[in-house]
């Protein structure tokens, strides 16, 4: 009997160990964020124990801080424009890279990929130098333009992956059955790469919204949300307000991405493939 128990324990060990590992990773990844969220309800301007009691006051202050609201609105505006622009341009580029044959195609694809590994700090500084050399005054436009530099290759990467999986003969079949190029794209290609487009759009938006380095160096008087957070963090009494605002923003993003994941899964099923691709697509965007 004892031997049997030992054998059973041995058999279960990998399962138990993997659960433990997942818990550990979750704690390391999300522990600090959860701590901040917790302290945003603490009735004290110092972020540390002891617990001084539950309050919603920091949320009220954040809500009433005009600067915070402006910053969030700025970020939303920039992110919406950047996501749309990079989605359109990136999809066109991905189409060209995967469907057309031209000299230097490999080089072009490599260049797109390489931008993804350049630190955002360097891109931000480069943008600052670029705009000041040209004598362009810094504004939300310059922020958006420089963010486009990193979100565009992201879209190219995600949409290319979708297009590569897509079988070319379907395009020929559509043409063969009488479709024009536009009809082929609309009825055959777009419905099937919709999950990739959705994932690309969401992450272009999130990258733009969350970006600090580029926004900081190429921004003017109007601040984006991360830049605003940085600017008021210098006074410690503002900490809980930042905490509260960040918690709301983080929660909103988590919900948005979760909702998008569900939507992409549905799109993928409609497209005839399983939901696994949706996950891989989300991971591509989440690497940063």
């Amino acid at each position: 009997m004892r031997a049997g128990l030992a054998a059973r324990a041995r058999r279960r060990l990998p399962g138990v160990a993997s659960v433990a590992l997942v818990v550990l990773v979750m704690v390391v990844l999300f522990g600090p964020v959860l701590m901040l969220a917790l302290f945003s309800f603490n009735d004290s301007s110092i972020i540390s124990l002891p617990w001084e009691g539950f309050t919603m006051r920091w949320y009220e202050e954040a809500w009433n801080a005009g600067q915070a609201r402006d910053a969030v609105l700025n970020s939303l505006l920039v992110a919406a424009v950047v996501a749309t622009a990079s989605l359109v341009l990136g999809t066109l580029a991905a189409w060209g890279l995967t469907r057309l044959r031209f000299a230097g195609r490999g080089l072009a694809a490599g260049l797109h990929g390489s931008v993804l590994v350049v630190p955002w700090l360097i891109i931000g500084v480069a943008g600052l130098i670029f705009f000041s050399e040209l004598g362009v005054s810094l504004s939300l436009q310059t922020v958006g333009l420089m963010q486009l530099v990193v979100t565009f290759p992201l879209v190219v990467a995600i949409v290319s992956a979708g297009l590569v999986r897509f079988s070319r003969s379907q395009e020929e079949a559509a043409i063969d059955l009488g479709a024009s190029q536009a009809q082929m794209l609309r009825h055959v290609v777009l419905p099937q790469i919709a999950p990739s487009l959705a994932a690309a759009g969401i992450f272009a938006f999130a990258w733009s919204f969350n970006n600090f380095e580029i926004s900081f160096f190429t921004g003017g008087f109007d601040q984006t949300f991360p830049v605003w957070v940085f600017s008021i963090l210098r006074q410690s009494e503002n900490l809980p307000v930042v905490n509260a605002a960040s918690t709301v923003i983080a929660l909103a993003q988590v919900l948005a991405v979760f909702g998008a994941w569900l939507a992409i899964k549905r799109l993928s099923r409609r497209g005839g493939s399983g939901g696994n691709e949706a996950i891989s697509e989300l991971m591509t965007g989440a690497v940063r």
């Binding site: 003969s169 379907q170 020929e172 063969d176 059955l177 009488g178 409609r270 005839g272």
Partner: protein, 367 residues
Amino acid sequence: MSEPMIVLDRVSRSFGELCAVDDVSLEIGAGEFFSMLGPSGCGKTTTLRLIAGFEEPDVGRVMLAGEDVTLVSPRRRNVNMVFQDYALFPHMSVAENVEFGLRLRRVARDQARERVAEMLTVVQLEGLGQRRPAELSGGQRQRVALARALVNKPAALLLDEPLGALDLKLRREMQLELKRIQKTTGTTFVYVTHDQEEALTMSDRIAVMEGGIVQQLADPRTLYEQPRTAFVAGFIGTSNSIRLEVSRREGELAVMELDQGMRVVAPDPGGSAPRLRITVRPEKIRIGGSSNGAGSRIRGQVVERIYLGSLSQTVVEIATGERLVVHELNDDEAAAVAPGDQVTLSWAERHSLIVDSDDGPQREERS
């Protein structure tokens, strides 16, 4: 042949250095089941794509139902293609897939529905219209691809190795099925395959291609019984190739004398070629046999004997060093031989097929 449906007039197509299709001329009749057969890279698929319009010829003309369509885009050509991987649209139901071409041509909804239902009946997929392609078996997907193309009533249906992805049993079923559908609809079928059995089973005529040229164009029986080149003889069925040094010519026959009264006899192609290359089909050769007549008689040693169910296959090495494959029916008369045995092989002179000669007209020189 009545008015040809498809005409290729001295068509060539190169990709860089490679000449995929080299000065090919073909006429395909209306309602014909026409196959292009050859190994991969022989130019058969490129030829099909030239007809479909996915490739443009460098030179030459493509005619469809009497009209020059060389420069017409594939969407405006009245031919439809069945792709090797079927290329079904996975995000559409079976019915939506089949209806796709009709929708683009703005056929009225009711009429389109009717034609889709009719076509699904022809391919025996009634009641599966609402399924997704992912929910179908390989054979069923194949039928959807056929229906999607045929519903447009094309002047010709182009099929690019459509059975390649199916297992052997299903492939045999689908061969008969394709032939049935072709007869039912009366559509011209142009069929590309590398499988000789498939081509022989279904086709009215077959173009055997190799190196971008048509080696021989004939009906299946002629290809098998009278191959014009060594390549055709080797590609269609098993071929036993023998180099024949002509010792003397006897009237209509070329004779190679060997020791002990043994000899190989073939119909003389004319001319004075000192050497001929002949082939003999395995089932035409008899083991033992007492052909004292005008036929070939040759001794050899059994190298291998394999039981194949209805047939026995015997490999015999003959005096010239060449090996011949012999097929015998496993009936009561089958010879009982074993490896190592000395046997005499015989066959009638008309079964020596000349596929090449040193100065013969059959030789296809290419620069």
